[in-house]
């Protein structure tokens, strides 16, 4: 299971990721972030930036960026199945959610 933030650029993803980050801050505060080197300098939830949280945890960017990230996923854990979420209580809205579903379904899934 992975969260995905669809955006034209990685920079844009960090802006659009706020609803996703709200959820992940909740996870962090409830002990769901297993410590790793990526979290070495994260001492409290306020240190949890998108850049830190996203690496190896949140799929983000355009189709090419997502393919690259999922390629690592494929190489490392060889998943049998991938389940993604792209919407959170804070957004995006329905139209954007449908656009995201369509982009991922048409531009990413056939290339996996």
């Amino acid at each position: 299971m992975r969260d995905a933030v669809i955006a034209d650029t990685v920079e844009r993803a960090s802006v659009l990721a706020e609803p996703t980050m709200e959820t992940h801050r909740w996870y962090f505060e409830h002990g769901a972030f297993v410590p790793d080197e990526q979290l070495a300098n994260v001492h409290s939830v306020s240190d949890l930036s998108f850049k830190v949280a996203a690496k190896d945890r949140i799929i983000h960017g355009d189709a090419d960026a997502i393919i690259e990230q999922l390629g690592r996923f494929e190489d490392i854990i060889k998943p049998d199945y991938l389940i993604i979420r792209m919407r959170h209580p804070g957004g995006p809205d329905q139209q954007q959610s449908l656009d995201d579903i369509q982009m991922f379904g048409e531009q990413v899934i056939p290339r996996l």
Binding site: M1, A32, V34, Y81, P89, L112
Partner: protein, 223 residues
């Protein structure tokens, strides 16, 4: 190609005042997933949430199954300790029949106290209860009569009818693993915030212990 499933947000923040509209939106998302190469559409489960978090993923899977013809529908995950195993076995079998074998059940053991409180279940018993549910599902769907004479459930020689449309295959898939399941709390949704490297460790550990539910937390169990 790795099959890709989608799971929707089922929370109508902040106060759950437009749940009917949210369900309409979820149906539209599912129909689009069906048209755009997704393999499945799955629902999660929580209870007593102010934002109206949809509490019944099996029911929702049935609703989406009725609106679609190709994609699999199911749970990711349903909270095993909170179900009477006969009722769960029956409901899943009916949806699987209605959808001509497109139903997939994934189970987890739960982690939020408020979910257990809603059903008067002691969280410390969640591993044992999950094991019992899984044992009943496995036998009932194989057409065997099932019995349970525990402190949790008491029934004897029950036939679950109908059985599912498909011959079922029960297997463990990595989602999250915690070795101390009987502790009052484990890490929630380990799958979502777990980096790749640890996912691999979890996968290996899960394969080693797939028959031992006590060592699996919120793992996926697909049928």
């Amino acid at each position: 190609m790795i099959p890709v499933g989608y799971y929707p947000c089922t929370q109508d923040a902040p106060e759950g005042k437009n749940v009917d509209r949210m369900i309409d939106e979820i149906m539209a998302q599912a129909e689009l997933c069906e048209q755009t190469n997704y393999d499945g559409f799955y629902f999660t489960e929580h209870h007593q949430q102010a934002d109206g978090y949809l509490p019944n993923p099996v029911l929702m899977a049935g609703l989406v199954g009725a609106r679609t013809t190709r994609i699999n529908v199911g749970t990711c995950i349903a909270l095993a300790p909170l179900y009477h195993p006969i009722r769960l076995a029956e409901d899943c079998a009916v949806i699987d029949q209605a959808t001509k074998g497109r139903f997939r059940l994934a189970l987890g053991i739960g982690y939020q106290d408020i979910d257990f409180e809603a059903f008067g279940v002691n969280p410390k018993q969640r591993a044992r209860r999950s094991e019992e549910v899984i044992a009943v599902l496995r036998d009932a769907w194989a057409g065997k009569k099932v019995s349970a004479l525990s402190s949790d459930y008491q029934f004897k020689d029950v036939s679950v009818t109908p059985t599912p449309f498909r011959k079922t295959r029960i297997s463990g898939l990595p989602h999250g693993v915690n070795p101390v399941l009987n502790a009052p709390r484990v890490s929630p949704t380990a799958g979502l915030s777990t980096p790749f490297s640890q996912y691999l460790l979890l996968k290996h550990r899960l394969i080693c212990t797939a028959k031992n539910v006590r060592r699996m937390a919120a793992n996926l169990l697909f049928v």
